[in-house]
Assembly symmetry: C2
Homo-oligomer: 267 residues x 2
């Protein structure tokens, strides 16, 4: 079994890329489980044609543990991909990451992960704390991808995620690299290239900013399922193949704030 965590700033495209990657891995014959770890709980919509999942946290709030049935929170998506959403507590009340911890406990109770050979964690990366830091732990993610664009805010978050990984345990190298999701802004390629070089990570995939994603999203599908954009489909099939063949893994080497600014913005 391989467990993959996909981190990045909120809104950067984690769920879009996770869902398309899950679809590509499933097409390649893998048994995939995608676990949404963002309080936004919309990670798996593109795999389930927009079905509204019952989040694990909401489910546990109203259900007697003796009555727990994993089918109540597990949706079947495109090409057999299993879909679960952690959810989160009400804003202003409790730890936003708590849903993730409770969800993992529940999934462990049912040994759900054992039914799959590939687990994808789609995790909010704006604050690397509480439950959001849990997939970084060694008993969870075997490999970690960071989604970023060339915008400073996204690279700042990427660098912060590297700090979180280093602080947990950098003995075992677990960062596969960067998934560069283009925002189509000026000088973007340069920013991401310089950042990647400075932190010693490969850019494992470059995803174009494309209407194909927006079109597919309108019908609550991945671009993989929608099937019309051959180039984008190939990008995800290639990434899926890389993962299946085994990615080289690297240590997390975050930059200081000062160096990050110099590297990205040249000042």
């Amino acid at each position: 079994m391989i467990e993959i965590a996909i981190y990045g700033k909120g809104g950067i495209g984690k769920s879009t890329l996770s869902a398309n990657l899950s679809a590509a891995l499933a097409l390649a014959g893998r048994r995939v489980l995608q676990i949404g770890c963002d309080p936004k709980h919309d990670s798996t919509r593109l795999l389930t044609h927009g079905q509204k999942p019952t989040t694990a946290l909401d489910y546990m709030r109203v259900t007697n543990p003796l009555d727990y049935k994993i089918e109540d929170i597990l949706l079947q998506g495109f090409c057999g991909v299993g879909c679960v959403e952690a959810g989160g507590p009400e804003p202003g009340v409790g730890c936003a990451g708590r849903g993730i911890i409770s969800t993992f406990d529940l999934l462990n109770q049912f040994q759900l992960k054992e039914r799959y050979d590939t687990i994808i964690y789609d995790v909010l990366g704006d604050v690397v704390c509480g439950g959001f830091a849990v997939p970084i732990r060694q008993e969870y993610a075997d490999i970690i991808f960071i989604v970023t664009s060339g915008e400073f805010m996204a690279l700042y978050a990427a660098n912060n995620i590297l700090r979180g990984i280093r602080n947990y345990d950098n003995e075992k190298k677990r960062v596969a690299g960067i998934l560069y999701n283009r925002r189509d802004i000026e000088g973007e390629d340069e920013h991401v290239l310089r950042f990647a070089q400075a932190v010693g990570l490969p850019i494992c995939a470059v995803i174009p900013r494309s209407d194909a994603f927006i079109q597919a999203e309108r019908t609550n599908m991945t671009v993989i399922e929608q099937g019309s954009d051959r180039d984008i489909i190939d990008i995800f099939l290639t990434l899926a193949r890389k993962i299946a063949n085994g990615c080289t893994l690297y240590a997390a080497k975050p930059l200081t704030d000062e160096l990050l600014e110099v590297v990205v913005q040249g000042r």
Copy 2:
């Protein structure tokens, strides 16, 4: 004394707008203290010509409480604006919001707020939990502004912030309204207008996406101090005047996820 909390999604422009508003309020004769409540700790750079502040959390980590001196973490900025940064713990280690709680305790120890008549809290709004939820408490913010653009992610965060406010205590109306910081994307005005109407909040200021901010940022100044963009300066002076004369305050009336999508995206 009036205490103003400025919330919004990371990267939306909170610090830029907070610093320019603080500068405008100071020009109008108020004694302003700006407290940065984002682990990015760069809230006050535009007021201090880029000085790197010692964050309260870093300071407390290395200083004997008997040796605490408020001057060590308080920077003097443009037009007498006082500047403090909460900072945060290392990513992956502890609660990202903890710096805020510790900072408030420290400031209370020195009764720092009493030296000012206007407090501006610049607060990360991606997760409304832990320390990030503290300025929402009644003993802190008297009035709350939410910074947003027309992007769905920003409006989702704005709606989430309203949930946090409502969950704390909605008996006392404390939301002044929306600060619309344009991102210049298609159909943006419409999205923000529909959101504002649906949640019953006024748009208190519309800030154009402008190179004036980027130019001023290059020399680590607010547009107010830089002095060249008369229109933008007027926007902030007008907002400062509205605040000084007393804003009408509203209850937080967040939308359900479903309604938010229908309202913003028309589906």
